[in-house]
C-alpha cells in the first residue's frame, strides 16, 4: 500500500483534470498515514505544513500541463519524490476526459487506474537495483566547437537514435541516457523527472524529462521495453548529466522486449558522430 505521502494536489476547480487530482488525493488519504497539503491554504499558512513535509515523501498531483502544483512545490523549494499529471495519465491509458466537472465513468476509471499504479509502483520501488554491471569503460571520440568539447562513446554495444539519446545494450537489457549534444545545449540542468519504474516504454516513447532554465528535453527512448531501474541520484543531482551524460548521468535501465526490431531504427557511433557534428555546426554556424 502507498504509505507516508504528503500529497500536494493542484485542486484546480475549473477543470475536470483538477477535480480528478483532488479526488485522488482524498482517496489516498483513506490511509491515515498520508496527509494532504492544501495548495490554497499553504499559500497563506506555509508553516502549518512544515511538519508534514518533513516527515513524508512528497507526492505532487498536477491536473493539467500548467502544472501549478509542481510550480508551487518548486517555489517552496520542496523535494518532489513522485509526480503525476492527470492529463498525461489519461493519454497513456487512452481515456478521454470530458470537460465536465462532475466525475463520470471514464474519470472514475482513470482514478482507479492511477491509484492502482501508485500502489504497484510503491511495492516494487524497493527492487530498484543496479544489477546490471556496466563495469567496462566507455571509449570516447571527441570533437570541439569553440571551446566546447563534445564526446561520443564509440563502444560497439552503444546505439543511438537521431533524437540524441543512447542505449547501451547488454543481452536483453539496456541502459539509456542523453548525449553530450543535449547537455551542452541545455546548459546547467536543474530538474530531472525519471520515467516510472515498471512503465512500458515504446521505442521513441518518452522516458524521463530534463530541464534547465534554457529549455525542456524529453528523453526519447531508443529502445522498447519495461523500465527496471532509474538513476534516482539525478533527482537531487541533475548536474551529473552535465558532468557526464553517459556514466554518472545515465537515466534508466530497460528490459528489452523487441530489440531486433528497435535496431532497425538505431544507428551506431560512426553515423551518430557525423550527425551530432552537423547539428552542432548548424546550431552555431
Amino acid at each position: 500500500m502507498v504509505e507516508n505521502y504528503a500529497i500536494l494536489p493542484c485542486n484546480g476547480l475549473d477543470k475536470c483534470a483538477g477535480v480528478i487530482s483532488r479526488e485522488i488525493a482524498i482517496k489516498l488519504c483513506a490511509n491515515a498515514s498520508n496527509k494532504i497539503i492544501c495548495p490554497v491554504h499553504s499559500r497563506i499558512a506555509e508553516a502549518k505544513y512544515n511538519k508534514i513535509v518533513n516527515e513524508h515523501a512528497l507526492l505532487v498531483i498536477d491536473g493539467c500541463q500548467t502544472r501549478c502544483a509542481s510550480k508551487l512545490a518548486a517555489e517552496k523549494n520542496l523535494k518532489i519524490s513522485r509526480k503525476i499529471t492527470v492529463t498525461e495519465e489519461a493519454k497513456n491509458h487512452h481515456i478521454e476526459l470530458k470537460n465536465d466537472l462532475n466525475l463520470l465513468e471514464n474519470e472514475n476509471n482513470l482514478i482507479e487506474i492511477i491509484l492502482n499504479g501508485l500502489n504497484n509502483a510503491e511495492n516494487k520501488a524497493a527492487t530498484v537495483s543496479d544489477e546490471l554491471q556496466y563495469s567496462y569503460k566507455f571509449t570516447y571520440t571527441t570533437f570541439q566547437n569553440g571551446k566546447f568539447i563534445f564526446r561520443v562513446p564509440s563502444n560497439p554495444e552503444i546505439y543511438f537514435n537521431e533524437n540524441d539519446c543512447w542505449a547501451w545494450v547488454i543481452g536483453n537489457r539496456a541502459r539509456i541516457g542523453v548525449t553530450d549534444f543535449v547537455q551542452q545545449n541545455l546548459s546547467d540542468i536543474l530538474y530531472f523527472t525519471p520515467p516510472e519504474i515498471d512503465a512500458e516504454v515504446d521505442q521513441f516513447g518518452e522516458a524521463g524529462e530534463i530541464e534547465s532554465s534554457k529549455s525542456v528535453f524529453e528523453l526519447i527512448s531508443p529502445v522498447s521495453g519495461k523500465v527496471i531501474a532509474i538513476n534516482d541520484t539525478l533527482v537531487t543531482k541533475p548536474d551529473f548529466i552535465n558532468e557526464n551524460p553517459y556514466e554518472l548521468g545515465w537515466v534508466a535501465e530497460i528490459e528489452l522486449t523487441d530489440f531486433k526490431s528497435d535496431k532497425e531504427l538505431l544507428i551506431g557511433f560512426d553515423q551518430y558522430f557525423e550527425i551530432m557534428k552537423k547539428k552542432v555546426e548548424e546550431l552555431n554556424g
Binding site: Q65, G205, E218, I220, L265, K278
Partner: protein, 96 residues
C-alpha cells in the same frame, strides 16, 4: 536547413508535426517561445493568430511543445504508426 532526412527517409515523407486544437488554444504563445525550430508562427493581425509554419522543421518524435501547453491544445500523430511508416519506407527504398 540542410537536414532533410530522418533515419535516411526524406523528412517530407514523414508526417510528424503538432496539430493545434483551436477550440482549446488560448493563444498564450508559450509554444512559439519554446520551440527553437520555428515550427510555429505567430500572426498578430490575423484572426487565427497561431499556425504551423515549418512542419518539416519539427523534430520527429519530439513532443516537448505539447508538454508545456497549458490548455493541452497540441497533439501529435501516433508514434507507433509513424515508426512503422518509416520502417516501411526504408524497406521499399532498399528494395527499389
Amino acid at each position: 536547413m540542410s537536414e532533410t532526412t530522418f533515419m535516411g527517409v526524406e523528412r517530407d515523407k514523414i508526417d510528424w508535426k503538432p496539430t493545434i486544437d483551436y477550440t482549446k488554444c488560448d493563444y498564450c504563445m508559450e509554444c512559439v517561445k519554446f520551440c527553437p525550430h520555428k515550427v510555429f508562427e505567430l500572426r498578430e493581425t490575423e484572426e487565427i493568430k497561431l499556425i504551423i509554419r515549418n512542419a518539416n522543421n519539427c523534430v520527429v518524435f519530439c513532443r516537448a511543445c505539447s508538454k508545456i501547453c497549458g490548455p493541452d491544445a497540441l497533439s501529435f500523430p501516433d508514434k507507433n504508426t509513424t515508426t512503422q511508416r518509416i520502417k516501411d519506407i526504408r524497406k521499399e527504398e532498399s528494395h527499389g
